[in-house]
C-alpha cells in the first residue's frame, strides 16, 4: 500500500474508503436493498389481486422452490458451464492474437469483435432463430445437400440453447481476457524463450498463471448471466431444456407468484454469490487498500 507523505496518516487510511463511497452507496441502493427486499418477499404471503404481502416468515418457500426446480437449476448450471467453457476456448486465441499481434490495429479488431453486439440482445437471438429454423438458411442448405434428413432440426435442442448462450456472452469472456493479456509484459515471454522454454511451457508457466485473475473474471462475467438467462432458452430452446430464468419469469409474470419467484431468485443469487466469493477469496484483493 502506498500513501502520500503530505497527508496525515489517518486521512491516508480513510482515503480509499472515501474514494469508494460513491460505489458503496450505489451498491447499497441498487444491490443490497433490492436483494433484501427480494429475500423478504420470498418469506411473505402475497395476494396478487391486491398486491398486498404479509410477512409470514415462510422459510418453506425456499425449500419448496429448491425441490420443485432443482433439476432445472442443475440443468441451467450445466448449460452455463458449457457456454462459458466454449467462450473461454474461443476467446482466448482471439484475445491473445489481438493483444500480441494486432499491433496498431488493436482497437479496430476489438471494435470488430464488438460490432455484432451493438444490436439488441433479443434481436440477435431472434435472428439466430431465423437462421436455425427448419426452413432457415442453414438447415435448408444442409437438406438440399442431403447432409441431414428432411425432419432434422436444431431449434428446440440443447445444442441450440448452449450455442445461443455462448454466442451472446462471448464479449463478456473476450474483453476481460484481452485486458488481462494486454497487461502481460512481453519481456516475460521473451525471457521464457531465452531460458529455453517451449511455447506450451511458456503458456502453461507464464501466460496462464499471470492471466488467472482475468480468466476467472471472464468465467464469472459469462457464467453468472448465462446461468440466469431466459431469452436464449425461450427463443431457441424447447420444454426439454427449460432454464431457471424461464421458470422465475413465469412465476412472476404468468402465475403472479411473487414469493415463489423471489425464493427461486434467492437460490440462484446464492449460487452465484458462491462463485463471486470464491473469486474474492482466491484471486481478489485482500483489502481496499491494495488498490491505492
Amino acid at each position: 500500500m502506498t500513501t502520500t507523505t503530505s497527508k496525515s496518516p489517518r486521512l491516508g487510511r480513510l482515503t480509499p474508503y472515501l474514494l469508494g463511497l460513491p460505489a458503496i452507496v450505489w451498491l447499497a441502493v441498487f444491490f443490497v436493498v433490492p436483494l433484501v427486499l427480494m429475500l423478504a418477499k420470498a418469506l411473505q404471503e402475497c395476494n396478487p389481486a391486491t398486491g398486498v404481502c404479509t410477512m409470514s416468515w415462510n422459510f418453506a418457500s425456499l425449500s419448496d422452490a429448491w425441490s420443485s426446480s432443482s433439476t432445472i437449476i442443475f440443468r441451467s448450471l450445466g448449460y452455463a458451464l458449457a457456454a462459458t467453457v466454449i467462450d473461454l476456448v474461443l476467446s482466448f486465441p482471439i484475445a491473445y492474437w489481438i493483444a500480441f499481434y494486432a499491433g496498431r490495429r488493436k482497437n479496430f479488431f476489438l471494435m470488430m469483435l464488438l460490432v455484432p453486439f451493438f444490436v439488441s440482445f433479443v434481436i440477435r437471438t431472434v435472428i439466430w432463430k431465423f437462421l436455425l429454423s427448419s426452413d432457415g438458411l442453414i438447415i435448408h442448405t444442409l437438406q438440399n445437400l442431403h447432409l441431414v434428413s428432411s425432419d432434422y432440426q436444431i431449434l428446440g435442442t440443447t445444442f441450440a440453447v448452449v450455442a445461443g448462450l455462448a454466442y451472446n456472452f462471448l464479449p463478456f469472456t473476450a474483453l476481460p481476457l484481452y485486458v488481462s493479456l494486454e497487461r502481460l509484459n512481453p519481456a516475460l515471454l521473451e525471457a521464457s524463450h531465452d531460458l529455453y522454454a517451449g511455447r506450451i511451457t511458456t503458456f502453461r508457466k507464464i501466460v496462464l498463471p499471470l492471466c488467472a485473475p482475468g480468466i476467472f473474471a471472464a468465467f464469472l462475467l459469462t457464467f453468472i448471466p448465462a446461468f440466469g438467462d431466459y431469452v436464449n432458452q425461450q427463443v431457441l430452446g424447447g420444454f426439454t431444456n427449460t432454464m431457471v430464468g424461464t421458470v422465475i419469469q413465469n412465476l412472476f409474470l404468468v402465475s403472479n407468484d411473487f414469493p415463489g419467484g423471489s425464493a427461486l431468485s434467492a437460490i440462484v443469487m446464492g449460487i452465484s454469490l458462491i462463485g463471486i466469493l470464491a473469486y474474492g477469496r482466491l484471486l481478489g484483493s485482500k483489502s481496499i487498500g491494495d488498490f491505492v
Binding site: P48, A49, V52, I72, S133, D135, Q153, F239, L253, N256
Partner: protein, 424 residues
Amino acid sequence: MTNFPEHIDPSVLRGLLSPRITRRAALQAGAIAGAASLILPASAEAAVGDSAWWASKNKTGVLNFANWPYYIDTYNGKHPTLDNLKTTQGITTTYSEVIEDNPTFYQQIRPALQSGDPTGYDIIVMTDNSVGLRYLLNNNYLIPLDDSQLSKFKANASAAAKKVYTDSGKRIVPWQSGMTTLAYNKSKVTTNKTSLKMAFDTSRSNVAKLRNRVGMLSDPIELGNLALLAIGKNPATSTPTDWQAAATKLREQRDSGLVKQYYGNDIINELKQGNLWVGQVYSGDVFQARIGGNKNLVLMNATEGVLLWTDNMCIPKGAEHPRDAMIAIDYFYDPAVAAVLAYYVNYMTPVPGAKAKMLAPTKGWQATTMANLLKDIEVKASVIASAPEVFPTSTYKLKSYYAFKTQGEIDTWNEKFAGIPTGS
C-alpha cells in the same frame, strides 16, 4: 349465420363475467379476509359511476386508449376509425398498443388503481377469461359505464354482448371476440379432422404421424381449458379433479413426443412456415394467415367444442377523461364503424349489423375507408363476411373458459398447468 354469437351456448355467458359470490353470500359463508379482498366491492367508492357522478363529467376532447397490438384498423400508419372519432365527435385519441398479456398489464396498472391515481388510460381492453379482468371487477377498479350514453350499444349490440354488459354490473362491453381451438395443415394431416384427438391422441400411429409437429399455447389458461375439452369436460363447470385429469392428459401429450414446443402469439408463424402441422391457435390469426396465402391452414370446428373468449372495453378508476371514453365506447357500436374494424382485424364483432355494412358500406367515410383498406389487405369484404373465423356458423359449439371464483382456485390451476410448458 350470425355475427357475435347469438346462438351461444348458455353456459358460455352464464355468470362468466358477473361476480360469482355476492357480498351477502360471502358474508354468509364467513369468507376469510383474503378472499374478501378478491370479491367485495369497496363501498367507499360507490358514488363513482353513478348518474350524479357521470353528470359532473364533461367531454374534454382527449382520449387515452390502451389496447393489444394489431387490434385496430390501420392505414398509412393511421387508424381510420379513430380519425373518424375525431371528425365526428371531436375527440383526439392517443392510442397505445401496450397490452401484451392480461396479468402483466393488470400488475402494471394495479399500483395506480390501489392508490386512486390515474393509470394513464381512459379505455383498456381486457380478456374475459383472464385473472386480470376478474381482479379488476372483483376489486371494483372499473367505473360503471353511463347507461344513458350507450344508445348505439343498445340499438346495435348482439344479445350476447348485452349480456356481458349486464352480467358485469354494467362495467364492460365487448370489443371483439375470438375462438381458441386447433388449426391444422390439411395437406399434412388427414385424420381426426374434427376432433381435438388430432393433437391429444397418444396412440403409436398418431405419434408416428405427428411427432414434433404439434404446438400448444404456453398460457396456462388456454392450455388447461383446451385440455378439459379434449378429455370431454365442459371447462365452465369443471372441478379441480377434472383439472388434474386434464393436466395428466397434457403431460401424456407432451411426453409422447407429439408436442414440439409451447408458444405465445408466434405459434401462427410456425404453422405458416410449416414447422408445425397442428397448433392451438386464435381464430383471427388463422384467418389472416389463410388470406395471406396459407390456403392449407384450416381452423378446426371440433366436435368437443371451441373455446370462446371476449376482449372487453372498460374504464379504469381514476380515468381522466371518462366522458370521452363513454362516447368512444358507444361510437364503436355504430355498425359502419364496427364493420371497418372487423374488416381489418378479422375477429368476431359484437355488432351483428356490421356484416351488412361490410357488404354494402355507407357512402362517405365508411365506403372510402373500406376502399382504402382493400388496397392494403387485398381481400374483398365478401370474403371476410363469409369467413367462419369472423362470423362463425351455428355449427360451432362455443364453450366458455373456467371462471375463477377465488384466489385459491387460481393458485390450484397454476399448480396444475403452469409447469407443463417448462417440462415439469
